[in-house]
């Protein structure tokens, strides 16, 4: 992947996050992107508490953050414009996220084939060695020619014109 593609990813990635109404509603933030790698954050919000007593975030909020970060890493894993759809997402919740703390999700797309991207992700609240959750996901890659309507393709076309 050349520098130009990485630069384009940096331009598109914030739009990929903010252009998704649900991620925007959750207050998800783009942090970084590189070849096959992505980092996003989710600031703590009372709206996404799962357990009223402990005030710990609901697993679903972590799921959404890991899904979004993993999807971005998958897109960044291809050296051609690609759109992805989640095929499978598996998450282990290792401990409760500390109430009040921002959650960071880092994802690594370690293998891409013509049709499938394989991605691992870690969600933590400050220390990557003490994760809140870890994920393993597979994504279907969509060929640009077969879906002119797809999201990233649109973004890329827009950024090129």
């Amino acid at each position: 992947m050349d520098d130009k593609l990485i630069q384009r990813l940096w331009e598109l990635a914030p739009k990929f996050v903010e252009g998704s109404p649900h991620s925007k509603m959750m207050g998800m933030k783009f942090i970084a992107v590189d070849q096959g790698r992505a980092t996003l954050s989710l600031p703590y919000s009372q709206k996404f508490i799962g357990d009223p007593k402990s005030r710990v975030l609901h697993g679903g909020a972590i799921t959404t953050l890991l899904d979004q970060a993993s999807g971005l890493a998958a897109i960044a894993g291809y050296n051609r414009p690609t759109s992805v759809a989640t095929l499978n997402l598996s998450i282990d919740y290792m401990r409760a996220a500390e109430p009040g703390k921002t959650i960071l999700a880092t994802a690594h797309c370690y293998k891409v084939t013509r049709h499938v991207a394989f991605v691992r992700g870690i969600a933590h609240d400050g220390d990557e060695d003490d994760p809140v959750a870890m994920s393993q996901a597979t994504f279907m890659a969509t060929e640009p020619k077969s879906s002119t309507q797809n999201f990233m393709q649109n973004m890329i076309e827009r950024s090129l014109t």
Partner: protein, 139 residues
């Protein structure tokens, strides 16, 4: 548990309130509903529901089913979930029904199916296990 009692339990979960889920009880058959909202869209160009919302919604359905079938008032905590995405989530209401494979004293093993227009065409399925003790080491 009646529909009103489940609604009361769900009311206590801010995440469930934010998504706007509503319970539906027909006899003993419990269905959780995620009414369509623009806020739940992931890809506005298709448009399609966000995969994370689908996963989170399935997780709420699993937790609600455990609350329904166990006498425990404690909230089950997810240990691990595995979600298969089978079809794109259309901009419509989403339904989920959970089956508890095993309800142990500490762990519940649950499977959930989510569908939209047709029950026989699920858009996603979840398989997960949940911890039912006060142990704070697991989320």
């Amino acid at each position: 548990m009646t529909e009103a009692e489940i609604a009361q339990q769900l009311e206590r979960i801010p995440y469930a309130k934010t998504l706007g889920v509503t319970p539906n009880m027909v006899g003993d058959e419990f269905t959780l509903i995620l009414p369509f909202s623009q806020d739940n869209i992931g890809n506005p160009f298709l448009p399609a529901l966000h995969g994370g919302v689908i996963g989170g919604f399935l997780e709420i359905a699993a937790i609600a089913q455990i609350l329904l079938e166990s006498d425990d008032k404690k909230f089950p905590k997810p240990i691990g979930i595995n979600v298969d995405y089978l079809r794109s989530g259309k901009p419509q209401d989403l339904f989920a029904r959970a089956r508890i494979t095993k309800l142990g004293s500490r762990v519940a093993n649950v499977r959930v199916r989510a569908w939209q227009s047709n029950f026989d065409e699920p858009i996603a399925t979840l398989h997960g296990h949940f911890l039912m003790t006060e142990d704070n080491d697991a989320a």
